[in-house]
């Protein structure tokens, strides 16, 4: 787990203004997830064209880990098909933070993934 102060400091610098933060006005799918035990909220916007996710953005009221995770996830999904994106697992994201399901920040890190899965489900149903 990114526990030491230097790693935290790096994360903080890197994600102070996280990439992909913002709204997609003409998104095909928007989904929100919240973790009420900690107060984090994250919303994912997906723009889908010709079988591919062409743009992904997020907005949040959340901690550094949740924001960093959302930023990475929205980067990862761009240019990919729903099928490809569906393969994205918790471990792929947790690895970046040197975390696992037992880490204290597990819930913060996987929250954007939960939002993404909800958005993908919406896209499939459309």
């Amino acid at each position: 787990m990114a526990g030491n102060i230097n790693e935290l400091q790096d994360l903080l610098k890197r994600f102070k203004k996280p990439a992909n933060y913002g709204v997609i006005d003409d998104a095909n799918a928007v989904s929100e997830e919240a973790d009420y035990s900690c107060g984090d909220k994250v919303k994912i916007y997906l723009k889908f064209e010709n079988g591919k996710i062409v743009n992904a953005m997020f907005t949040s009221e959340a901690c550094l880990f949740c924001n960093a995770s959302a930023s990475l996830i929205t980067d990862l999904v761009k240019g990919k098909s729903i099928e490809e994106v569906s393969k994205l697992g918790e471990s792929d994201i947790l690895r970046v933070f040197k975390a696992d399901h037992k880490s204290p920040r597990y819930r913060c890190i996987v929250l954007p993934l939960k939002a993404l899965r909800k958005a993908l489900k919406d896209l499939k149903e459309k």
């Binding site: 030491n4 935290l8 009420y36 035990s37 107060g39 984090d40 959340a62 901690c63 880990f65």
Partner: protein
């Protein structure tokens, strides 16, 4: 007896622990407190020397365990100024408040309930459910500029026919203390019941039910040096005599025939099944410890720690939620570091060996009313010292370079 926190610390082995390479600083006392050797030893002594079921068997061991159990009940009741048959043992404050909501709904449903924005979820959700199931009205009154309950709003609700006023004594988020004597007087003047969530006050300040006069009051053992899984519900005798037990079974009946039964006297009528004997014994030891130390000493010490904490904060980076005067806090302060989420603040402090709490603190409406969705919270107790607060200041100062 002079109060010396360094002497107190010797009774808490966990405080010698190292966390993330640093000596432990425990500032999450509003969540749960550490346990002194005296409490752990009392539980050990019970299991090694007296373990037996209580109030049942005719044998020496059971009789000794029963004596210990009854004596523990007496101590715990006396600690809050109650009679020993006016307290019911349960698992925690949450269970106590749920019991009250369900019990009052079961017997004589009083349709108009007033609570406040300052409540822990456990003093809001049970009432909301009862009102939605049984009908009636739930009013949530707000706060004033002093971060305590809005008394005008309370009085208005009472005038409009509130029948149950249920509020927190000390806020688990803000650390501010509501004027409980005045609330009690007002409620009774208007013929309303007065229920108190005392989870954050009983461990920290002198309290006597005879002075405050609540009709019912709930608190938890683990927030006052006792073990987890033991809570206390105080109910005035006249009211308790009238209440229906919710759980039926062993230990709560005098006689049972194939057609009917006669329930036990209070409080045993409300304690079906084998009780949490070790919890009661442990809590009695905790009460002994607190009484010996003196609640007044503890309150004064925590007040000094709060002042030291507030005085040393860099106001350009830290926003404190609560009154300006440090003597308005009962050992709890919530704050935010500008530009850093409270979870990240908590984790960075954790890396320095300092344990705090962050999030919505099981009081989401209150945290939202402060204009945020999460806060960082420090909460002190009798074993905390100034040097620990200095370490917190130093860690917070270092965080400034991160943003």
């Amino acid at each position: 007896m002079a109060f010396d926190p360094y002497e107190v610390r010797e009774d808490f082995p966990i405080l010698k622990k190292t966390v993330n390479g640093k000596s432990l600083v425990y500032f999450d006392n509003a969540a749960t407190t550490q346990k002194p050797v005296q409490v752990v030893e009392a539980i050990k002594d019970y299991y090694y020397n007296y373990n037996s079921n209580v109030l049942r068997s005719i044998n020496t061991l059971s009789s000794q365990a029963t004596d210990l159990y009854i004596e523990s009940r007496r101590k715990i009741a006396r600690f809050i100024g109650a009679e020993e048959d006016e307290i019911i043992f349960n698992k925690n404050t949450t269970e106590g408040l749920n019991f009250l909501a369900e019990n009052l709904a079961h017997r004589t449903w009083r349709s108009s309930v007033v609570t406040s924005i300052m409540e822990h979820h456990s003093n809001l959700l049970p009432w909301r459910r009862i009102v939605s199931e049984k009908g009636g009205k739930l009013t949530v009154v707000g706060m004033n500029d002093e971060f305590t309950i809005n008394m005008e709003a309370v009085e208005k609700s009472l005038e409009e026919g509130c029948e149950i006023l249920t509020v927190t004594h000390v806020s688990n988020v803000l650390g501010t203390s509501n004027p409980v004597k005045e609330l009690s007087r007002l409620a009774h003047k208007h013929g309303s019941l007065f229920i108190l969530d005392a989870a954050q006050s009983i461990p920290h300040i002198p309290f006597n039910v005879k002075e405050v006069d609540p009709d019912c009051m709930a608190f938890s053992g683990h927030k006052m040096l006792g073990p987890t899984g033991i809570g206390v519900l105080y109910v005035k005798r006249s009211m308790l005599e009238d209440m229906e037990p919710r759980e039926l079974g062993g230990g709560m009946v005098k006689t049972v025939t194939s057609e009917t039964q006669v329930y036990e006297d209070i409080p045993f009528r409300f304690e079906a099944g084998t009780p949490n004997i070790e919890g009661v014994v442990g809590l009695a030891a905790a009460v002994d410890y607190l009484s010996k130390t003196g609640l007044k000493n503890i309150a004064e010490h925590e007040s000094k720690l709060v002042k030291h904490f507030l005085d040393g904060l860099d106001k350009s980076t830290i926003e404190v939620y609560g009154p300006r005067e440090s003597d308005k806090y009962v050992g709890i302060v919530s704050f935010n570091f500008k530009g850093i989420h409270p979870h990240d603040v908590a984790q960075m402090l954790d890396a320095d060996g300092i344990m705090i709490r962050s999030g919505a603190l099981c009081a989401e409406p209150l945290v939202n009313a402060l204009g945020v969705n999460a806060v960082a919270r420090v909460s002190f107790y009798l074993y905390n010292v100034f040097e620990e607060v200095d370490r917190l200041h130093e860690s917070l100062r270092r965080m400034k370079s991160f943003i």
